[in-house]
């Protein structure tokens, strides 16, 4: 497991990469996630799990970057899973339609 400069974590196991988003998903952390995900997808990863257990706020840039990751994953035939979302973030993603494009893993 590697810790990034933004305090987020990435863990790879087989074809599955788990990205732990930081507490505030903004431009800085979002771009780190995007970079990590693209690297994993290029390396043949078939599933990206974005873990939001530490995430309290996602701003518009964060949403945009996540949509970019979803788009890239679709292009590579990979699956994107969001896990451990708090209620506020689930509501935001539902309202914006983001959850239509990913699988949401039950919390806990």
């Amino acid at each position: 497991m590697a810790e990034t400069e933004t305090g987020s974590f990435v863990r790879s196991e087989g074809g599955i990469a788990t990205v732990y988003a930081g507490d505030y998903l903004n431009k800085l952390t979002g771009e780190m996630i995007e970079r990590e995900c693209k690297q994993r997808l290029a390396a043949g990863c078939t599933e990206i799990i974005v873990n939001f257990s530490r995430t309290e706020i996602v701003n518009s840039i964060g949403v945009s970057i996540l949509l970019g990751v979803i788009d890239s994953a679709k292009g590579s035939g990979a699956r994107v899973v969001f896990s451990d979302l708090n209620q506020h973030t689930i509501e935001l993603f539902d309202m914006l339609g983001v959850t239509k494009h990913v699988d949401v893993m039950d919390n806990g």
Partner: protein, 433 residues
């Protein structure tokens, strides 16, 4: 029961609307901050696109800048448009006319197939999954465009969405317009700098030519004005003047004797010590020089003053006005030393150039009387820098000759002279109080 369900649904909808508003306002606030605060234009556009796409969860999009003379939209940022999406899109007059007429409002690409742009790039827009095209019309000018794909919800864009898009697109348009203005200002500033440099060169060449013409009148002092210009320049450098002031000092040196063109040639060229009457005639040249130079709009302020006062002395025994120390403009004090030094170190019709040690004894003796000590000091330091090799260019050697600069113990004479110079002009010569 039905009323209860209705109320619950209503509350849920209100909560969702509130949530959406907060999210959108957050994006708008960040966009405003980004556009007004960032120094990096490319990064501003990239972030602005993210904010726009993220505020409504739009899957893909791009921002382009319009170059009106090339009639081209150049992509500045894009997300998810694919490698094949064109980097530049050419517009025709009909496109431009329609965009200007419609103003900054989203055009649904599927409804605008009549426009040439959407016919020519139909395939690209389709592959990019684009649904909306927003011409960025700012102050009646198309400055760029925003391309937007479908929403993540899969729903159509509502009129409310379009209003939000317009508000955000306007921010991006203003950023592009401001960037255009800045680029144009920088280009004009560069052009002005280039023209100013050319003008300066022309002015300086003209001044040099004029100085050569002045010197031609006096066959015994050929090159005097040019040399005085050079000495003045070197002393000004040592005094720590800025580039503009140094250039001005050189010009003042070149033109200090311009008034001599009004003096009869036979007096200037007299191969003997001139008499009192001729001396009065010759001594008119500083004022005449001032009268010639004053009406000219020089880029440097003190050129006419240097011509008028370069024969003044600190002790008030100079001419034309018998000024004292602080009444004499600084540039005139520098030209005075340069002029006197050149007169002493060049052959004259009635006497040969004086040896170096004698010349520096004279400067030393007259520091505080005729010459300003701080100017003499700067002159010595400048000479010492060349003698010690600290100065790379051998400018004094070119003016005075190798032999003169290799006078025995010249450096130690100058160093000793530096220590013995009065620290300031003697107070008994002149005081304002």
């Amino acid at each position: 029961m039905k009323i209860q369900e209705f109320k619950t649904a209503n509350v849920k909808q209100i909560a969702e609307e509130r949530h959406r508003l907060i999210h959108t306002f957050g994006a708008l606030a960040e966009l405003g901050q980004e556009v007004s605060g960032s120094q990096n234009f490319q990064e501003t556009i990239r972030t602005s696109l993210h904010l726009m796409l993220g505020s409504m969860a739009i899957m893909r999009g791009g921002v382009a800048r319009f170059a009106k003379y090339e009639h081209e939209m150049s992509m500045l940022a894009g997300r998810g448009l694919g490698e094949d999406f064109p980097r530049t899109l050419t517009l025709c007059h009909e496109d431009e006319r329609q965009f200007l007429a419609g103003g900054l409002y989203p055009i649904e690409i599927s409804q605008a197939k009549a426009l040439p742009l959407f016919q020519v790039y139909d395939q690209s827009f389709e592959r990019g999954g684009l649904e909306l095209f927003v011409p960025l019309v700012i102050r009646n000018e198309t400055v760029g465009a925003v391309f937007l794909g479908r929403k993540a919800t899969g729903e159509m864009f509502t009129s409310y969405d379009k209003e939000i898009i317009c508000a955000m697109a306007r921010h991006i348009g203003v950023a592009i317009a401001h960037r255009g203005i800045m680029v144009e200002l920088e280009r004009q500033a560069d052009e002005n700098r280039r023209l100013y440099d050319e003008l300066r060169m022309t002015y300086r060449d003209t001044v040099k030519a004029f100085a050569a013409a002045i010197d031609r009148k006096d066959k015994y002092t050929e090159g005097h004005s040019v040399r005085v210009g050079k000495y003045t320049e070197m002393i000004a450098e040592e005094l720590g003047w800025n580039e503009h002031e140094i250039e001005g000092a050189a010009v003042a040196g070149y033109l200090h004797d311009v008034g001599k063109i009004t003096v009869e040639r036979k007096i200037i060229n007299a191969p003997y010590r001139i008499n009192a009457k001729e001396s009065v005639e010759l001594n008119r040249h500083p004022r005449a020089g001032y009268d010639i130079l004053m009406p000219i709009n020089h880029p440097y302020a003190d050129v006419p003053l240097a011509a008028k006062y370069h024969h003044e002395r600190l002790d008030g025994r100079g001419y034309p006005d018998g000024l004292y120390d602080r009444e004499i403009p600084y540039i005139a004090k520098v030209v005075n030393l340069a002029d006197s030094f050149d007169a002493m170190t060049t052959d004259r019709p009635y006497k040969r150039r004086r040896p170096a040690n004698e010349v520096f004894e004279d400067l030393q003796r007259n520091a505080g009387k005729q010459f300003a000590p701080e100017v003499v000091s700067a002159f010595y330091r400048s000479l010492l820098k060349e003698l010690s090799g600290e100065a790379k260019e051998k400018r004094y050697r070119k003016l005075l000759g190798r032999e003169y600069m290799e006078t025995e113990a010249l450096a130690s004479t100058l160093r000793a002279g530096l220590n013995d110079l009065p620290t300031s002009s003697p107070t008994n010569i002149f005081s304002y109080n």
